[in-house]
């Protein structure tokens, strides 16, 4: 994956060498967003694991997300789709932003409003987005929503489902799930562990009444997500596209033996 990315980058740079300005631009792009990041490199690689055998489709995650991220009732940063029933049990598929390791939206955004933090979170710069909606075409997961009109007035999800922690987006920009970066960053600053301490963990994970969502650091072999992935078969959406999603799913299995499934009791 890394090898191909490097090759293409090199190819692009060589191709653009004729235009001296292009090289300057590449440096400029990196610098601009490097400054916004907490560090050039990060020891963390955040990921989410969703256990489909536990998901009941209650959409508490969607509501908690709307409150904490001040999302309009017309938009869902994390949708819950019902798949066909398997036996007597309904199967659901919650879809947040996949926080792709090789994100199509980051590659194609004409103004670099999409960028990736060193810890892997794909961010949106809402002050820079021009609302061209090219990223909506490029995202294979339909994770993005455009603000077709201004979200005015009270947020119906507040205060029942939580309090807004980030600024509301203006009309005319595209928005999406951010793995609740604000909770992660604030938590880390307080010495908390995202995925373990509630205040440092994404709102949807905390809101899930059945513990179907897990969050943590893939670089830490002892984290909840690393262990869940080590102990269970898992899959990601459209892995064939090479997007390297950071959202993993534990599929529903016919016999769910006690003790095999990972719990989220931390």
């Amino acid at each position: 994956m890394t090898a191909t990315t490097l090759k293409r980058r090199d190819f692009l740079k060589i191709g653009a060498a004729g235009l001296a300005t292009t090289a300057v631009a590449a440096g400029m792009t990196r610098k601009q967003h490097g400054a916004a990041d907490t560090a050039e490199t990060s020891p963390h690689r955040w990921a989410m694991v969703i256990d489909q055998s536990k998901c009941t489709g209650c959409e508490y995650c969607t509501m908690a997300c709307r409150a904490n991220n001040d999302v309009s009732p017309d938009i869902s940063w994390t949708r819950v789709i019902q798949l066909e029933s398997e036996g007597t049990k309904d199967v659901f598929l919650p879809i947040p932003c996949m926080q792709c390791g090789d994100a199509p939206c980051v590659h194609i955004c004409p103004v670099s409003a999409n960028y990736q933090r060193p810890d892997g979170i794909v961010m949106m710069d809402y002050d820079r987005c021009i609302g061209c909606r090219y990223c909506e075409m490029a995202c294979p997961y339909g994770a993005r929503s455009f603000n077709w009109e201004t979200f005015e007035g009270e947020n119906p999800a507040v205060p029942t489902w939580g309090q807004p922690e980030v600024e509301r987006r203006p009309r005319g920009v595209v928005e999406k799930c951010s793995f609740c970066y604000q909770r992660i960053d604030r938590g880390l600053a307080q010495g908390l562990t995202p995925g373990v301490d509630p205040a440092a963990t994404p709102a949807c994970v905390m809101a899930c009444p059945t513990g179907a969502r897990m969050f943590g650091d893939l670089n830490d072999p002892n984290s909840i997500v690393s262990q869940a992935l080590a102990e269970n078969p898992s899959y990601r959406l459209r892995e064939d596209l090479g997007t390297d999603p950071r959202v993993y799913y534990l599929p529903v299995r016919d016999t769910n033996k006690e003790g095999v499934t990972c719990s989220n009791n931390a």
């Binding site: 692009l12 653009a16 292009t22 631009a25 590449a26 400029m28 792009t29 601009q32 789709i81 798949l83 598929l93 879809i95 199509p104 590659h107 194609i108 955004c109 004409p110 103004v111 670099s112 409003a113 820079r128 987005c129 021009i130 609302g131 061209c132 909606r133 090219y134 909506e136 075409m137 490029a138 995202c139 294979p140 997961y141 339909g142 993005r144 929503s145 455009f146 603000n147 077709w148 009109e149 201004t150 203006p170 009309r171 005319g172 920009v173 595209v174 899959y235 959406l237 459209r238 596209l241 090479g242 799913y249 599929p251």
Partner: protein, 415 residues
Amino acid sequence: MFKQRLTTLAKPFTWWVIFLVVLIISGLGAAALIFIRGLVVTNLTDLVPWGLWISIDLSSIALGAGAFLLSAAVYLLKIKRLQPVARTAVFIGLIGYSMAVMTLLLDIGRPDRFWHAVAFWNVHSPLWEVTMCVTFYLTVLVLEVLPMFGGSDWMQERWPNLAEKLQSIHHFAPIFAVIGLGLSLLHQSSLGATYGVLKARPIWYRPGLPVLFIVSAMAAGPAMTVLASHIAGRLTPRAIIKPELLDQVSKFVGWVLVAYLYLRFWDVLAMSYTYEPARTEGLNMLTQGPLALNFWMGEIFLGILLPMIILLSDRLRSQQRLHLLALFLIVGGLVAYRWDTNMVGQLVVFNYLPQGLTPQYTRYIPSLVEIAAGAGVIAYGLLAFTLGVRYLKVVNHEDVAEEDVPVPQVVMAGD
């Protein structure tokens, strides 16, 4: 006095201008509504975020491609006799690119941030490259058109000094031709690549799109120039045309259509083997679904085959009505191709479900507001050309010698 006014009113020209101005005013009204209420007044959705306006944008850029081709022919290949045709093409190019900028300003959610692509670069984005090229090329086109203003009678009467300065810009025409050629080759194809690099949309994800975009533009751009010149020549004595000059361009267009048909044939045929989710559904939508009439009639038969035969046969082309029909069909075929390409990748909804290969479809029909705003932009283009023919003599094939005169003088003055 009253009688004179009546005769002015009775002229078809007056009615034509009134018609266009009405369309422009309704378009401005629609644009105001869009800027005040936001894009919620359109029928665009998160599944179909690019609609009618993007099709107009793509089409007007492609139809402006005559500018770079004819400039290159005159100033790089030294086919000097085509110089007056290049003049028309450059004027149409400026109209086309300014139309594209207008539709883009309507389309983006934050038109106040239109300059961000120039300030915040992402060299990996085809859309960034297109934006930069269009910005630079629009500048080049303005510089190429300024001498036409300098050459107009009213400018020479009122501000003779300024007129002379503007005309002297024409001295740099060969440089503009080189820059224009480079920029156009880049962005005309990158517009196809804008779609072609999106792996999430299998019907788009192929290397053929950039090639098809530039080849179709190389056919339709000059066709637009010749068509507009002929129509102007028939309707007003202010436009003086030499049909034999335009004929040479038409013949070139005929041969480009051969190349376009060849590439399009292999492009479509190669996609038709074995099932691939979303790509096959998209192809079926084109060949037998809701876009089939557009595809087979608009794009292939009427847009390529028929005009290709007419333009390449000396006997058929010499009949002026058939000749004009062929050019008109090429322009229509280009618009159909851009519309179909933009639509087909969006109407088949991408598939991210783990086990779901079942295709899903969505719909898009532009809203009245979108149509009114789009019609306003097109009316602006038609009005600009009409006024250009009337006041700037943009279609005048007997003006060659005059234009070349100031060139040596400027050089002397510079020394």
